[in-house]
């Protein structure tokens, strides 16, 4: 039986990027972007993804939010929208195109059912292109997933999307997706509803989608949207730290129970460090379409990272790890398989963790970094874990949970003998240090001495880098330099990859 997806569009996603504003979080920024003539393209991107779904599942029902938060795009794609959330912002409603009915009601179809989006140029003038100076180096991708959208964000030049966790819903923010552009022959854009949305709307909509039975939340936006969606899911699920008394099973084929409802990002923002985005709207649509009819589609756990955009605009990049989420994950049924492969990314995580545990030594203090792979290490060791923080472990015992930098330094000064930081690859861009695990600071690393790192990651996370190096960014250029070169990454029992490490500076 087909499963039901939920769609939520952050209608102002991406508005700030083309405007050269390094992000669009916050009402003032969005207003500024609009003033510069930028147009939100989230609706178009949503439509592109939905068209692919519609081709595979004609007439499928999609749970969604009202107006430009989803229902418009759903209807434009010829699918049935069941609206389960209406934005609470004061001026929400529709100015043209479809009328949003009460939550829970079927949205009427729009009259335009184009199957193909010709161009994605918007009628509004794009006044500024994103800074693409390092997009090649820092772009893309996991197999099927992207750290960046079409307008690829560089690590150092991350543009912002428009969702805005810090947007407060002030009336000034107004994203407008313009009506269909007659210039594109077959181009159909969702009839736009003029809706003001906030981060609270994203969160509220995500929660409503899950409550209404969505098995997959397809969201259109950027890192901020991902963060809001993840927050909503976290609130609806039983939290969090895994029961460490349960026997370690590296081979669970399902995703991690923390967020059993998977999410999938349609890249529309441009600030996308998180690993939960497909490479393109069409790719997201194809994956979601497959998810609908294939209950065996495996899941993988990926990080949601987000940067405080104020910092970016001030020239600093300091993304934090906010959540771990499940995403559908296809590696393809390959012919001529030569060796046993893990049935899923989750199984691969289990094997990588087993591999690195095999090499753990008695008496060594391990600073276990954040991320799903490190959490699996803790689970197999049978110790509690802080998924988004740093824990200190020695001889199979927890020494300190969720340690701050200062606490780590104290531990190290008190510890006799060897100590190592055990880290995994965070986000889609290949960071080992400096993204989401800032507690393992330059000072901590210096205290660890030479060869401070033990790296564990799945093969797919390494191959997804497509040859781009692993990255370190501790803020200490000399230290970063000393960490560059080649490092051994444990990828499984009996297997490792030797991979290049570079410094961002």
């Amino acid at each position: 039986m087909d499963r039901v997806i939920g769609l939520l569009v952050n209608p102002v996603a991406g508005v700030g990027g083309p405007a050269g504003l390094k992000g669009s979080d916050g009402a003032a920024v969005q207003a500024a972007a609009l003033a510069r003539g930028a147009t939100a393209r989230a609706g178009e991107r949503a439509l592109r993804a939905l068209e692919v779904i519609a081709a595979e599942h004609p007439g499928a029902t999609v749970l969604t939010a009202a107006g430009s938060m989803g229902a418009d795009a759903v209807a434009a794609a010829g699918l049935s929208a069941r609206v389960v959330y209406t934005p609470t912002s004061p001026t929400s409603g529709s100015s043209e195109g479809i009328r949003i009915e009460a939550a829970g009601a079927e949205a009427t179809r729009t009259e335009t059912m184009g199957a193909h989006t010709g161009g994605t140029e918007t009628t509004g003038t794009v006044t500024a292109r994103p800074d693409t100076t390092c997009t090649k180096g820092m772009g893309i991708d996991v197999i099927g997933f992207s750290a960046t959208g079409a307008d690829t964000a560089g690590a150092d030049t991350a543009e912002a999307d428009t969702d805005g966790a810090d947007a407060q819903g002030a009336g000034a923010a107004r994203a407008e997706a313009t009506p269909a552009d007659s210039a594109g022959a077959h181009s159909v854009r969702p009839k736009a509803s003029r809706v003001e949305t906030t981060g609270a709307d994203t969160t509220g909509a995500a929660a409503a989608l899950v409550a209404a039975g969505a098995g997959l939340v397809l969201f259109v936006g950027g890192d901020g949207t991902a963060r809001d969606v993840a927050a909503a899911l976290a609130a609806t699920q039983t939290p969090s730290v895994r029961d460490s008394s349960a026997p370690a099973s590296p081979n669970r084929v399902e995703g991690h129970p923390q967020h059993p409802v998977p999410i999938l990002g349609v890249p529309a923002g441009v600030k996308m460090y998180s690993g939960c985005f497909a490479v393109s709207p069409a790719a997201a649509g194809a994956l979601a379409a497959r998810w609908i009819s294939d209950p065996t589609l495996p899941l993988a756990e990926r990080e949601v990272l987000d940067v405080d955009e104020e910092q970016i605009r001030e020239g600093r990049v300091d993304p934090k790890l906010y959540a771990l989420v499940n995403v559908p994950f296809v590696v393809g049924r390959t012919q001529s398989r030569k060796s046993a492969t893990a049935a899923s990314e989750t199984a691969a995580v289990g094997l990588a963790a087993r591999g690195v545990i095999d090499a753990m030594r008695p008496g060594t203090l391990y600073l276990l970094g954040p991320g799903g792979t490190c959490r699996e290490v803790a689970a197999q060791l049978g110790v509690p874990n802080t998924p988004l923080g740093v824990d200190a472990v020695q001889d199979g015992q927890i020494v300190k949970l969720d340690a701050s930098e200062g606490e780590l330094l104290e531990l190290l000064s008190a510890h006799e003998g060897e100590a190592k930081a055990m880290v995994t690859v965070i986000g889609g861009q290949g960071f080992l240090l400096g993204r989401g695990n800032q507690q393992i600071s330059a000072r901590v690393l210096r205290a660890l001495g030479p060869d401070p790192l033990r790296v564990v990651a799945t093969e797919s996370k390494i191959t997804a880098l497509a040859g781009r190096p692993l990255l370190v960014d501790t803020g200490d250029a000399d230290l970063d330099r000393s960490l560059t070169g080649y490092i051994r990454v444990t990828t499984g029992v009996q297997s490792a990859v030797v991979y290049r490490v570079a410094a961002t500076s």
Binding site: V52, A55, E56, D141, I143, V279, S280, A282, A283, A284, G285, A286, A289, D294, P295, T296, V330, V331, G332, R333, T334, Q335, S336, R337, K338, S339, A340, T341, A343, E459, S460, I462, T463, A466, G467, G485, Y486, R488, T491, Q494, S495, A496, V497, V498, Y499, R500
Partner: protein, 520 residues
């Protein structure tokens, strides 16, 4: 006005045979017989009595096996119908199965083996009665030795992966003979070497370290330098790699291995483009292997039997599996007295019918012919690459702008981003045009990969037809993605569901399991 017939369309209107055949158990009719069996003579019966009744009760089968009961021609017809529902290499332009060297398996070689002088030989017969086959195998060994430049050859293994296993087993024995078995517990390979290298090394108990390519797409010598050391038992690499890129620094790699006391093992699965051009010997390798079912033309047989040929240096010769064929003047004998041998790797002396086929293939070509095979395989590949790269959305990652040897691993990454169509879906649709298509080994290092290897066996027109079909499918992905997503349309069966294949409660690996799970 019936003539003239209109010209053919650019792309073939193909439809595969579709017999809608039942499963063989459904064809059973009680009492029918497919073949009768020689029965015990009265004299035997009277001497031994009722042997079945005399079986101990625990050994007497209670119920006859529930095999189908079918007259002979019905069995034949059923299986011939099944045979028609395959896209064998004799029928399709089989360039789509890169890394597998799907070349022409000459019919004469199939005919040559069908003689009672080969079919009805027992491996333990009097050596005097099997001189002909021993002679032939010995000659093939010498030819492989020359083609690789190595010292000695074993043809015992029945596939490529098991040949690599044999090589790692000899490497293990070599280090053990020097007292270094425990010290050397790591094997180094590259991500674009055949995955069998990593898989067999793991099965042999080694830790496997995989190197990724450098920024230019070549195997990363600096990465090798960073990791190789006293724990290294061997480097096990393919060259050219599965990308079709030849590692120009391969000798440096081998020298690095030797400098730390490790051995260098060369997977020559991709040898078809370098026959007579460069050899394992020149690069200094200690051991290599060929797949006779790839480079040396023996048919792929639905997935075997193939045959492996392992070639070794003087230092590794004592570790070869036994027995080995020894020539003394005109006489050939089997030497089983080999104290350092790793022992048996397969029953007897290898897949003998394929050894005769491979021998005949080399004899039909000679030195000049083998070089021509390589050169045309490479020409065909670069020609096909030019055609493929003209298709919008297709790329050839790594070593941009460089020539490739005998195959290329391409990517539909751009097409996928534009359309959501995956490489698997392209492959299914290609079959509608009568073409086989393959993606890549796992993992997909190249996004949305496909791997084409045209070999020397296909004509320019055929390569063009394959490229035309790919072009057509890529166009469909943009203009009519529905037809791609819902493929196949012209195949034996329609879109096959996959939802029970991973569910232990539901999967049906045999007819009896299917009956039990769904009808009882």
């Amino acid at each position: 006005m019936s003539l003239p017939v209109a010209p053919k369309p650019a792309v073939r209107r193909f439809h595969q045979a579709s017999w809608d055949e039942k499963i063989i158990f459904e064809l059973s009719t009680p009492g029918e017989r497919g073949v009768l069996v020689s029965r015990p003579e009265p004299g035997v019966r009277s001497a031994v009595g009722d042997v079945v009744a005399n079986l101990p009760v625990s050994l007497r089968r209670k119920k006859k096996a529930a095999l189908p009961e079918m007259a002979q021609m019905r069995v034949l017809r059923h299986y011939l119908r099944l045979s028609q529902q395959n896209l064998g290499a004799d029928l399709n332009i089989d360039v789509g199965q890169g890394t597998c060297t799907m070349k022409y398996s000459p019919k004469v070689n199939d005919a040559l083996i069908r003689t009672t002088k080969l079919v009805d030989l027992h491996p333990l017969q009097n050596e005097a009665d099997v001189q002909g086959i021993l002679d032939l195998i010995w000659r093939l060994e010498r030819m492989i030795a020359e083609i690789s430049g190595m010292h000695a050859v074993s043809l015992h293994t029945s596939g490529g992966s098991t040949a690599i296993w044999m090589n790692i087993s000899m490497i293990r024995a070599y280090h053990a003979s020097r007292g270094e078995a425990d010290q050397r517990d790591e094997v180094i390979t590259t991500i674009f070497s055949h995955p069998s290298n990593a898989a067999t090394a793991k099965a042999a108990g080694y830790k496997v370290i995989t190197l990724h390519p450098d920024a230019d797409g070549y195997p990363d010598a600096d990465a090798l330098r960073a990791v190789i050391g006293p724990r290294t038992a061997a480097i096990m690499i393919t060259n050219p790699e599965d990308t079709g890129i030849f590692n120009p620094r391969v000798k440096e790699w081998v020298d690095l291995a030797h400098s730390v006391g490790a051995l260098a093992s060369y997977d020559q699965a991709n040898a078809n483009g370098i026959l007579g051009i460069t050899r394992a010997r020149e690069a200094g390798f200690d051991v290599c292997h060929f797949n006779l079912h790839k480079t040396f033309s023996t048919p792929h047989a639905c997935g075997g039997p193939g045959a492996g040929a392992s070639a070794v240096s003087e230092a590794l010769e004592p570790f070869l599996p036994g027995p080995v064929i020894v020539r003394d003047g005109d006489r050939f004998s089997l030497n089983r007295d080999r104290p350092q041998s790793i022992g048996k790797v397969a029953p007897f002396y290898g897949v003998v019918p394929n050894l005769v086929r491979a021998y005949s293939w080399i004899m039909a070509l000679g030195a000049e012919g083998l070089r021509e095979v390589a050169e045309i395989a490479v020409l065909n590949n670069n020609y096909l690459m030019k055609r493929v790269l003209e298709i919008p959305g297709a790329t050839a990652p790594y070593a941009e702008g460089r020539r490739r040897i005998e195959q290329v691993r391409y990517s539909w990454e751009e097409l996928h981003a534009d359309t959501g169509i995956t490489t698997e879906q392209i492959g299914v649709r290609m079959s509608d045009y009568g073409m086989h298509y393959w993606t890549s080994h796992h993992p997909y290092v190249v996004p949305e990969p496909f791997t084409l290897e045209p070999t020397e066996a296909y004509s320019k027109d055929e390569l063009d037809e394959y490229a035309d079909a790919l072009t057509q499918v890529a166009r469909e992905a943009r203009e009519n993605p529905e037809i791609v997503r819902t493929a196949p349309h012209n195949q034996t069966v329609h879109r096959t569901h996959e939802d029970t294949l991973d569910d232990p409660e539901k999967w049906a690996i045999t007819w009896r399991a299917y009956q039990r799970k769904y009808f009882s």
